[in-house]
């Protein structure tokens, strides 16, 4: 972990609240210039991890490094991080320009120079104030806030407030940039638009960015890598493609992707062959992972199709989505609910209750052991008996 010297490094951080372990040994590295999205269900500890990195809270054990420096016990001000809060946390009594200037004023001006009225007569204060004003101006310009500098936060729309919070974070060019669900208060259209702006800002600023979101579409579209967190643990950190197509853990596979991945209870026999309700699936486990017994076979909705022979299922309903169509079905052997994403023109009229048989490419099936760990060492049985 320590070989990445620049950016954010979290090593084995734990945090307990009232005897409950909220972070159970989290390790994560975000390189300088990298954009990592942290996704996970509500209450899994995302904000807690952010607060540890920002220094608002301290870990019970573990270390936090920023640009190679151990900052575990440092105050937030000494860490060179900026954070955008979910509620924006703008100072309501200050104008937009004053809000953006706060991080600079706190760092560059002495307490005397910051005094409301007398401060401006203090030696050296004028030059610093001018410098700050220029930098605030350019940060505001970068976010299209040029005409709003004299407004108070209460006079701004949600999207504008959000941009003020971003400007306040980028104005001092921090080494690490933390964002805790910055888009969750915006409406859908503005959210999509602001996504691109944030990525753009990140590219220009080049800081290590950790971005928390509930929204997996946001994570997959914006991030260089996605970290999936659940119940205080990071399950996998990988590129959006790998997270979607090649998950390490059944929990990652089911969390990412909408509609949810289909999971079928399977058994692995002595020869390593996976069967679902007695039917051979064409997937064989080989090599070192000699696992037998209960397992799970998972298939993305787009990897299932209607075939002449295969998994028997009952159609339960169709959902038309425009470019595709969702077929809800139920596996006959196990009663498991299944979803198929199909091209609309290929789907015959299927009244609820009609019998269908479903095929899939065994090469795209994902196999997990009873604990939900991915079994990667699989091969396709040469002559698939299902399709």
């Amino acid at each position: 972990m320590t070989e990445s010297v620049t950016g954010i490094v979290v090593e084995n951080a734990t945090r307990n609240f009232a005897g409950q372990q909220v972070l159970k040994g989290v390790s994560l590295a975000v390189a300088a210039g990298e954009f990592v999205a942290l996704v996970g269900p509500s209450g899994c500890g995302k904000s807690t991890l952010m607060r540890l990195i920002a220094g608002i809270d301290r870990p019970d054990s573990g270390r936090i490094l920023i640009n190679g420096r151990d900052v575990t016990t440092l105050r937030p001000a000494a860490r060179d991080v900026a954070m955008v809060f979910q509620s924006y946390a703008l100072y309501p009594h200050l104008t937009v320009a004053e809000n953006i200037a706060v991080p600079l004023a706190m760092r560059r001006m002495s307490a005397a120079q910051r005094l409301p009225l007398l401060g401006r007569f203090w030696p050296g204060s004028q030059a610093r104030r001018r410098g700050i004003r220029e930098e605030v101006g350019s940060a505001a310009l970068a976010l299209g806030l040029g005409s709003l500098l004299d407004r108070r936060p209460a006079q701004l729309s949600g999207g504008q407030r959000q941009r003020v919070a971003l400007a306040r974070a980028i104005v001092r060019h921090p080494a690490a940039f933390l964002m805790d669900e910055p888009l969750s208060n915006l409406d859908a259209a503005l959210r999509v638009h602001t996504r691109r702006e944030i990525v753009e800002i990140h590219r220009r600023a080049g800081a290590a960015t950790l971005y928390v979101t509930h929204d997996q579409a946001e994570a997959l579209t914006m991030a260089d890598r996605v970290a999936v967190m659940q119940a205080g643990q990071i399950l996998q950190v990988a590129s959006p493609r790998a997270i979607y197509a090649d998950p390490d853990d059944l929990r990652v596979a089911t969390f990412i992707g909408s509609p949810r991945i289909n999971t079928l209870p399977a058994e692995i026999d002595g020869h390593g062959l996976a069967r679902v309700a007695g039917f051979p699936t064409g997937v064989r486990l080989c090599g070192a992972e000699r696992v037998t017994g209960a397992a799970t076979l998972a298939l993305r909705p787009e990897d299932l199709f209607l075939a002449d022979g295969g998994i028997p299922a009952t159609a339960e309903g169709l959902e038309f989505l425009g470019e595709s169509l969702l077929l809800h079905a139920r596996h006959v052997g196990t009663g498991t609910a299944l979803v198929l994403r199909l091209p609309p023109e290929l789907v015959p009229d299927l009244p609820p209750g009609s019998r269908v048989t479903l095929g899939f490419d065994p090469g795209r099936a994902l196999l997990f052991d009873a604990q939900g760990r991915r079994l990667r060492d699989t091969a396709v049985v040469p002559e698939p008996s299902l399709v």
Partner: protein
């Protein structure tokens, strides 16, 4: 709404006037109480202030501004006005800053919040007149514990309530004690309402000390609370009466005379109701001025709309 839409226009008007009648009927008790208990007495006081009416006198005469010109030359009234201003000027900042400091300490602490709140709120719910006897004992020049303590360290304590040098300070101290708990509870409520994330933002933005975070977050966010506390405390301390009545009766030699006690003396001891009403009007003018200050001037500066 949809019901109203299908009604014809005249019927709607009838419905509206019926509603108005109901509204007035429901509001009547409150309106009557306001008229009888507030508006009429105020009007009576205003009228009385322009007469020379004395209680029990068979007749009275309109004397125009006579009472007010007499007030201008009345040394006792001037003293009462000065004392009241002194009292307000000491009690207001004393009880506000004290309450704010204690509220910040309680808020920062982890335990005993309810206990401390109850302890400091006690003076508010206790009867001032009863507590005044306790103060009389505490401040007693010879048997009082305060002077006993001072004697231990070699200081001869003054006669707190009967020396004209110390009497107003003593009354003001009691006033601070009386108002502190009330202000404290208001400040505690105000502090709880400040979003935690603002403090986190201030820390990340580099506010180097607790004092800077106070200046950047707490003080501005408490603005509306502070304004309310300021107005309430000023009005409550302009109204100081019961401690004066019980402890000093305005003495020694009018050294602790205050507006409402002077009014009480004129009206109920000397029965000069006209003159007493004139003092009431001065008092009313001060209270109204304070309220105007709050709504017109300060209110704009603490609500960041």
């Amino acid at each position: 709404m949809s019901d109203a839409a299908i009604l014809s226009a005249p019927a709607r008007r009838r419905g509206a006037s019926g509603e108005a009648i109901t509204a007035w009927a429901l509001g009547l008790p409150a309106v009557l109480a306001y008229l009888v208990l507030l508006l009429l007495p105020t009007l009576a006081a205003i009228l009385l202030a322009f007469t020379d009416y004395e209680l029990g006198a068979p007749a009275f005469a309109w004397i125009g501004l006579g009472n007010f010109t007499e007030l201008l030359g009345d040394r006792g009234f001037a003293q009462a006005l000065r004392n009241t201003i002194f009292y307000v000027a000491v009690v207001t900042p004393g009880s506000i800053l004290g309450a704010l400091a204690i509220a910040l300490l309680i808020e920062a602490g982890t335990r005993g919040r309810t206990l401390f709140r109850a302890v400091f709120f006690l003076p508010v719910v206790s009867l001032t007149v009863a507590m005044a006897s306790a103060w009389q004992y505490l401040l007693h020049p010879s048997i009082g514990p305060l002077n006993a303590v001072l004697r231990q360290v070699g200081i001869a304590g003054p006669a707190w309530l009967s020396s004209s040098d110390t009497v107003m300070w003593s009354l003001a101290a009691i006033g601070i004690w009386e108002n502190l708990g009330f202000n404290l509870v208001l400040f505690l409520a105000g502090l709880t309402a400040i979003p935690r994330e603002l403090y986190a933002a201030a820390e990340v933005d580099g506010a180097p000390s607790a004092w800077e975070r106070f200046r950047l977050v707490t003080w501005p966010m408490l603005g509306p609370t502070t304004l309310f506390v300021l107005t309430i405390t000023m009005i409550r301390s302009v109204r100081v009466f019961d401690t004066v009545k019980v402890l000093t009766q305005g003495g020694p030699n009018k050294a602790s005379e205050v507006l409402l006690h002077a009014m009480y003396l004129e009206g109920f001891t000397y029965f000069r109701l006209g003159y007493s009403a004139a003092i009431t009007l001065v008092f009313l003018a001060i209270v109204l001025a304070l309220m105007w200050l709050q709504t017109r001037v300060l209110d704009k500066r603490v609500h960041y709309g």
